[in-house]
Symmetry: C2
Subunit: 202 residues, 2 copies
DNA sequence: GCGGTATGTTTACAGTGTTCACATCAAGCG
DNA sequence: CGCTTGATGTGAACACTGTAAACATACCGC
């Protein structure tokens, strides 16, 4: 009745989920993150996680995948909040949600994009982020019918992603939030205004 | 007669520089990166680096700062290669140089942006990346006189930064290089074309 | 030449990822 | 019902890491 995932309940009752949860707690509290610390918080021995994850990297991947789902939810919610049709506002709101997510859960965000796990090409992490990319593509398709292209969605994701990292890395202050929001908004606006000026060159 | 840096030559002859060099070697060869590994490659004891860096994090910072300088050089060179005046091409070339740098030295690039060293606010790393930011700002000022704004330079750096990370993280294949170049170019183009369409919305 | 200080070494400790032999529990089959 | 069997967790162990402290040494200014 409880869970129905592949790994259900034996001794502990879905460790693996408990481990991922513990990892998120540690990351959010800013405590030192390690396989052992996660195991400790979940109340199991240091070797226990190895029954569910081949690697410390695999645990990281699981946490990252969860983060991607959360991020996707955050973006979807932002979309619901904004009046549809106004492309500038929609794009701004998406970018803002993206950056704010990064600032709200910096450690998870870093885990999501930080380290590449040398593992196989079927890496869940890549797949999860690909899904996110697809969502953005659909939104753009709705905003700019006909003009939507992988190139465009790439570029816009790039802006949000880049801005998020620049904040995380201390290039811009993360406080107060209102300023961050304004920074993202003005960046998107500047970008959208750019096309006009392009003519002048040559 | 040899060097004239703050830390000159005592026993070893400018360790610190040797350590940073060793670190870069290790990172570029993809070997396991650690304080001890760096010390080993420099031929000194594991404790020796502590005479030059308070922390492993400080070593990382030094490596990152070096990376920022290299990146700035790479961008400057790209600027020299491109016919001035054509804004689209200049921006494309800059973005390409940025992304290619990330792909050429992925580990260093990750070190530059990956982990935040909780240290003081006068972090060299932040300062070095700020310099990079300023350079981009000047270029934009030349390209779009009057229209240049922090917002614009933020956005454009964001694009390059985001694209670089998306490649590094496996969302896009890093080979062949020609495809990467094309991907960056088309992203920039799509972005610059965006402003035109904006009118249609309302 | 001498003393002091910058530099490097040795030794040591706690913490990490990982492995392996072992214990235990759930469940299914006889 | 009892036994095997495989999935799950434990304990002890190994090599490695970052870091600290006490010690050694070489350079430099006096």
């Amino acid at each position: 009745m409880t869970a129905s995932t592949s790994t259900r309940a034996y001794h502990h009752g879905d460790l693996r989920a408990a481990l991922v949860a513990a990892a998120n707690e540690i990351l959010e509290e800013g405590d030192a993150y390690s396989l052992r610390a996660v195991a400790r918080r979940a109340g199991v021995s240091p070797a226990a996680p190895y029954r569910h994850f081949a690697d410390r990297g695999r645990l990281d991947t699981a946490v990252a995948v969860g983060g991607f789902e959360d991020l996707r939810r955050a973006l979807a919610e932002a979309l619901r909040r904004v009046p549809t049709g106004n492309s500038t506002e929609v794009l701004s709101e998406l970018g803002i949600a993206y950056v704010l997510f990064a600032l709200r859960r910096p450690a998870v965000f870093r885990l999501m994009f930080g380290e590449e796990y040398g593992g196989e090409s079927d890496d869940d992490r890549v797949q999860a982020s690909q899904q996110l990319h697809d969502v953005l593509g659909e939104v753009l398709d709705g905003l700019f019918p006909g003009a939507s292209s992988p190139a465009l969605s790439r570029a816009l994701w790039g802006v949000a992603h880049g801005l998020a990292f620049l904040h995380l890395d201390g290039n811009y202050p993360s406080e107060p939030v209102a300023e961050v929001v304004e920074r993202v908004r003005s960046s998107v606006a500047a970008l959208l205004a750019l096309g006009h000026r392009q003519e002048g060159s040559r």
